[in-house]
């Protein structure tokens, strides 16, 4: 089925040839580049004046920013600032909310993500998501990973694919002897790494993470953060976090969202206050609101 994103059909073997060639050498070069080079990389997403409303209630107002290839971009801000709403726009998860309305433009590799003939399912294959609460399927560890590739016709060398992504998610050694066991028997941290492995099994381009470690203990959190550092060599990552120190540790770029009170003095919506290199945000932010938030004086 042809879409605006021009996804080629699967071949007889059931393999889907990704439209965008991923050059692993260039990935390595880019991963080795300093954080200050991040903004010179290709913009995977170009977001222009993005606003989101739920019914008549404005949730996020007029956000414009670029998300760069092989960078980790963090979205921080207080509750209700629209950061989760924003990230859900990047893979059209807000489509699943009946009264959600998205205005503005989200360009993904230069193409309108919300064009009428874009397949949202294909969007979510390329732009995977990991949620706050680990949500493995009530299936075996193996089948959790294999489910997505099977559905997409990626059946060739499935066992190798499962092992590869479990290694990539730093989980293989812990589960290799019990792949047939139910995934629900894993610890919270293991389940979350399983969810990350599941996301990368279908060869995404981008991984979105909505507070991926907030339900985990500190050691599991550290392992997830180490994993994010590894994953950005191959994927573009966007992460929502309420843990500022986590953003400081893992992100190359940080966007600070805040809450603005509307003219009626009652209704509140989210706005983007500042977006810059993480080093800048946490050493010398340009906006006083950002300074107040990162130093904990907000509120």
């Amino acid at each position: 089925m042809s879409t605006e994103l021009d996804v080629p059909p699967t071949n007889a073997e059931g393999d889907a040839a990704p439209e965008i060639e991923i050059d692993s050498r260039r990935m390595g070069e880019l991963a080795g580049a300093s954080a200050s080079d991040v903004r010179s990389r290709e913009a995977v997403f170009r977001i222009e004046e993005l606003s989101v409303s739920y019914g008549t209630s404005l949730a996020l107002h007029g956000t414009t920013l670029d998300i760069h290839r092989n960078a980790v971009t963090a979205f921080i801000g207080p509750s209700g600032c629209g950061k989760s709403t924003f990230i859900r726009c990047l893979n059209r998860m807000n489509d699943t909310i009946p009264d959600a309305r998205v205005q503005g433009q989200v360009l993904y590799h230069g193409r309108d993500l919300y064009a009428s003939n874009v397949d949202p399912v294909e969007v979510r294959r390329r732009i995977g998501m990991v949620f706050q609460k680990p949500n493995p399927f009530p299936k075996s560890i193996y089948d959790n990973i294999a489910f997505g590739p099977r559905m997409l016709g990626m059946k060739k060398d499935l066992g190798e694919r499962v092992e590869r992504v479990l290694r990539h998610a730093a989980l293989w050694d812990e589960v290799k002897d019990r792949l047939k066991e139910n995934a629900l028997g894993l610890s919270g941290g293991q389940q979350q790494r399983l969810c990350i492995a599941r996301a990368i099994a279908v060869e995404p381009d981008v991984i979105l993470m909505d507070e991926p470690a907030s339900a985990l203990d500190p050691i599991s959190t550290t392992r997830i953060e180490d994993l994010i550092h590894e994953l950005k060599r191959e994927y573009t990552i966007a992460i929502v976090t309420h843990n500022m120190q986590q953003a400081a540790r893992v992100a190359d770029m940080t966007a600070f969202f805040s809450v603005e009170v509307q003219d009626d003095g009652k209704a509140r919506h989210g706005i983007l206050v500042e977006y810059d290199l993480t080093t800048k945000i946490f050493t010398n932010p340009s906006d006083k609101r950002t300074e107040d938030y990162v130093t904990g004086r907000f509120g």
Partner: protein, 226 residues
């Protein structure tokens, strides 16, 4: 306002720094007075007093360590903590310079002094007191412009240093005068370093205020850094 505890710790840390600054000012004044009056007992006091400066430095260093470990300061708070750590080290260095001045004054006290050189050195010392006062006040008030003005004051100290050098060169045919003069060259060098340390504290003030660290002058360049 949130983070009351952290703010309290930062306030205490800065108060400790200003307190240490006050003590260092006493030390500079003591060294200058000892030089002017050739008072050996006052020299001993300045030398002994350095222990208190060193204790203050180590205490502040510990406070900085604890603030970073417990409060994880970022942005302006982090710049303040780093600037206080650097500036306290500069104060400690100034204390050491005062000890050197006092020791040399004591060492040369049996030799005849040359009034002109003593006057130049006292002038340098008083300018250093003024520079340190300005540096501490500018830091406390977060006054970047006043801090930048330290560069011009330092030029006067450097000029007096060159004057002392020129005077001592004239003693080349008088062995006792030359011995005394050589020791005074080192005293002049100490005052010149005190001036530099005051400028360094000024640079830290500008760093706290602007987020950018810029050297007012760089020894490897002839002209001031813009």
């Amino acid at each position: 306002m949130a983070r009351v505890e952290m703010q309290s710790e930062l306030d205490d840390l800065e108060a400790s720094f200003q307190d240490a600054g006050t003590i260092v000012l006493r030390s500079i004044r003591g060294a200058v007075d000892a030089l002017r009056t050739q008072d050996v007992e006052l020299c001993d006091e300045v030398i002994t007093f350095d222990d208190e400066i060193d204790e203050r430095f180590m205490s502040i260093e510990k406070q900085v360590e604890l603030v970073i470990a417990r409060q994880a300061p970022v942005a302006g708070d982090l710049r303040l903590v780093l600037a206080l750590l650097h500036s306290t080290l500069h104060l400690e260095r100034v204390g050491d310079q005062c000890v050197t001045i006092a020791k040399l004054t004591k060492l040369a006290s049996h030799l005849d002094t040359k009034r002109a050189v003593i006057e130049s050195l006292v002038d340098m010392g008083e300018r250093c007191v003024e520079m340190m006062r300005v540096a501490l006040a500018a830091f406390g008030e977060r006054d970047a412009e006043r801090a930048r003005g330290l560069h011009a004051l330092d030029e006067l100290v450097d000029r007096a240093n060159r004057q002392v050098f020129g005077d001592v060169l004239g003693y080349v045919n008088d062995k006792d005068a030359l011995e005394w003069g050589m020791r005074q060259l080192t005293v002049a060098r100490c005052f010149e370093r005190i001036g530099d340390n005051a400028v360094d504290i000024g640079e830290q003030t500008v760093f706290v205020v602007t987020g950018e660290f810029v050297e007012f002058t760089d020894a490897s360049h002839d002209t001031p850094t813009p």
